[in-house]
Amino acid sequence: MNPLIKFTTVMIIALELTFIKSVTINIIVIGVSAFLYLFLKLSWRQWLWLFILPLLPGFGSWFSLMYFGTGDHVHMAWVMLSRVFAYLWLGGLFTLKINDERDIFLATLEQKAKLSATFVYALVGVLNFMPAVSQQIKTIRVASQMRGQTLHIWQPQLYFKAILSAIRWSQNLAEGMVSHGFTEGAVRTHLNVVTIKKQDWLWLIIILIAFQLLLVPRWY
């Protein structure tokens, strides 16, 4: 499935979940996501994250509603707990695979969603830069240690250097892009033309309709 279509599906369902006060629906969403994860071949680390990440916000809101809430607070406590899990498990369907699908996602944004190429390539630049950031901070620290100066985590000078190198990096990125002939607002050709399959649209419609049907019994 094209990642942009997947993204749209996930976003629409997540938006609807915000207004639905049903534990059952949330559990169905979690269950369907879990079923799909079985095919996505997650690593045990990713499974661990899926279980641990929602715990704090989930139980946080559960406790506050359970013990300090008013009105229909017991039901709402369970709704909130299951909703946090539903959001994260649903979102995970998109985000956990985005590393593999990043290029095609960005290409779809540029070619199909007609997002400005400047925006898309700035994003590409930032994403390429991310892995370098922690290495960069480490290098800055060691480089200044070699100059006899230890920069600690709490010292502003470390961040001053980091920000300075980020600013210089963004200038370099802009200059680098222009030196490659990148022109704001100009037409570009594309080596890989993105096509969204009819099938993908079909799935989008089927999933959304199926989800609406779930709502018919008025569980909320």
Binding site: Y121, V124, G125, N128, P131, A132, K138, T139, I140, V142, A143, S144, Q145, M146, R147, G148, Q149, T150, Q157, K161, S165, R168, Q171, N172, L173, A174, E175, G176, M177, V178, S179, H180, G181, F182, T183, A186, V187, R188, T189, H190, L191, V193
Partner: protein
């Protein structure tokens, strides 16, 4: 729509940062379809001129331009980038600053898509260009993991693929090993024969004898056509593999020792099970082809790159030493000078180094002044370090690290991008103070002609092996 020859006019051009002139009254006439060499000392304004010709300046600088700088009658910096690059390609002195994408393939594709090349042609062009520079095997590797020389080759491939009429190359071979360098000069020459015009800056003049049409000399922001004897001097430089005079170490112990050390980068094995000492108080040269793992080795010695086996410093396993303590004894002079700066101006940097020096008595104000003038840097004290030229940054960085006085100093290509005189001055300064501070020097360099008699020992890094060579002359 396109004329056969585009007309580049550089007429009475001046360029200045606020009050400080960088280029003064420059006029330049390039013969169509010619190969031009632009020479001059570090900081004389060569890069600035090329950036102006490429249209990146004055837009990406805060300087002001006066005079006529046009392409077919249009101001160069007013032409939209994708049309401009079709006519004028420019290769940055520091390739990492030019890279936008993650892999060589994506980098070239990005450029060709911008130039609106027909998608059917793009892949073939990328492959041809990468093949010319010998980087096809690394097409889908992460650019971050490539060596300095390999990055320069990829950057060159990118400008070759763009197929511009004018090609401006700023020190394209500074980090490239001598063998590859000559091959790349041939590649550029072949490109020129397709009817293109080349301008290239280089401090190493060897290998150009048969290639050059015109030579331009930049001194202090003034440009002139090379005089007969200047031309003679440059054209006489024949490429040679200078013999490095070094002995085989007799020491069995070293200040640093490797025991069965292996290194890898990504899925490439760089060094397999090396055991050898780095003798104390000596100057040791490391040479080897691009991408063999020289920089990675130095990074491992300062605990910035993982390794297997044991590295010891004065019989202590460095794995057990805290990095803050370790780098007080073993410091790396990074390939990229900017990484080593901690302040804004040259003056502030010098004061910082002086306060934290391990031999404060040696580094009096007078000594520093004297060294600054020896390096031709005395007028730059109030300059911002990030606005110095590539060569000036390098000189400052080396000086700062010498002032700190770390017992063992690792240098990663400190001579790259420096003119011959600056190289000699730099080596003299390092030699004088390393001796006075009893320092051990380990240095990577491709600039062999400058260092034939400078080193005590010579380590060759090749085919995943490190070995001392020399001894017999």
């Amino acid at each position: 729509m396109f004329c056969a020859v585009t007309d580049l006019v550089v007429d009475h051009v001046n360029f200045a940062y606020r009050e400080t002139p960088v280029l003064t009254d420059i006029s330049l006439k390039l013969q169509p379809n010619s190969f031009n060499l632009l020479v001059g000392p570090s900081g004389s304004g060569k890069s600035t001129l090329l950036k102006l010709l490429s249209g990146l300046y004055p837009t990406f600088s805060d300087g002001t331009l006066t005079g006529k700088l046009t392409l077919d009658g249009y101001d160069i910096h007013d032409i939209v980038p994708y049309q401009r690059v079709a006519h004028i390609g420019y290769l940055f002195q520091n390739p990492t600053r030019q890279f936008v994408m993650k892999t060589p393939f994506e980098e070239l594709r990005f450029s060709l898509e911008n130039l609106q090349i027909n998608p059917d042609e793009i892949e073939a062009r990328i492959l041809t260009a990468l093949e010319k520079v010998g980087m096809t095997a690394f097409m889908h590797h992460d650019l971050l993991n490539l060596s300095g020389g390999e990055k320069q080759k990829v950057a060159l491939a990118a400008v070759l693929a763009a197929d511009s009429d004018y090609l401006l190359l700023d020190e394209p071979f500074a980090n490239v090993d001598p063998v590859a360098r000559l091959q790349l000069i041939d590649v550029v020459k072949a490109y020129q024969k397709k009817g293109k015009t080349i301008v290239i800056t280089d401090h190493d003049w060897s290998g150009y004898t048969d290639a050059i049409d015109d030579i331009f000399v930049m001194t202090d922001g003034h440009l002139h056509n090379a005089l007969v004897d200047e031309r003679q001097q440059i054209l006489e430089k024949v490429p040679s593999q200078p013999a490095i005079h070094a002995d085989l170490p007799s020491e069995k112990k070293g200040i640093i020792t490797l025991e069965s050390v292996s290194l890898s980068s990504g899925d490439r094995t760089l060094l397999s099970s090396a055991t050898l000492p780095f003798p104390k108080g000596k100057r040791i040269l490391i040479t080897g082809p691009n991408g063999v793992g020289k920089s990675t080795l130095l990074s491992a010695l300062v605990k910035l790159h993982p390794y297997s086996g044991d590295i010891t410093y004065q019989q202590q396993n460095i794995a057990k030493r805290k990095i803050a303590k370790h780098v007080k004894d073993v410091a790396l002079v990074f390939q990229n000078a900017e990484q080593q700066f901690v302040a804004m101006t040259v003056e502030e940097e010098l004061t910082q180094a002086q306060t934290l020096s391990q031999s404060p008595d040696l580094w009096s104000d007078d000594t520093i002044n004297q060294v600054l003038s020896q390096l031709n840097m005395d007028a730059l004290r109030d300059h911002i370090v990030y606005q110095l030229s590539g060569g000036q940054q390098k000189k400052l960085q080396v000086l700062l690290m010498l002032i700190i006085g770390t017992p063992t100093l690792l240098f990663d290509e400190p001579l790259a991008g420096l003119d011959n005189i600056s190289q000699q001055n730099m080596l003299n300064v390092i030699a004088e103070f390393a001796t006075r501070q009893h320092q051990t020097i380990i240095m990577i360099s491709h600039q062999l002609h400058a260092v034939t008699d400078w080193f005590d020992y010579h380590l060759q890094f090749e085919n995943q092996q490190l070995s001392y060579i020399g001894g017999v002359s």
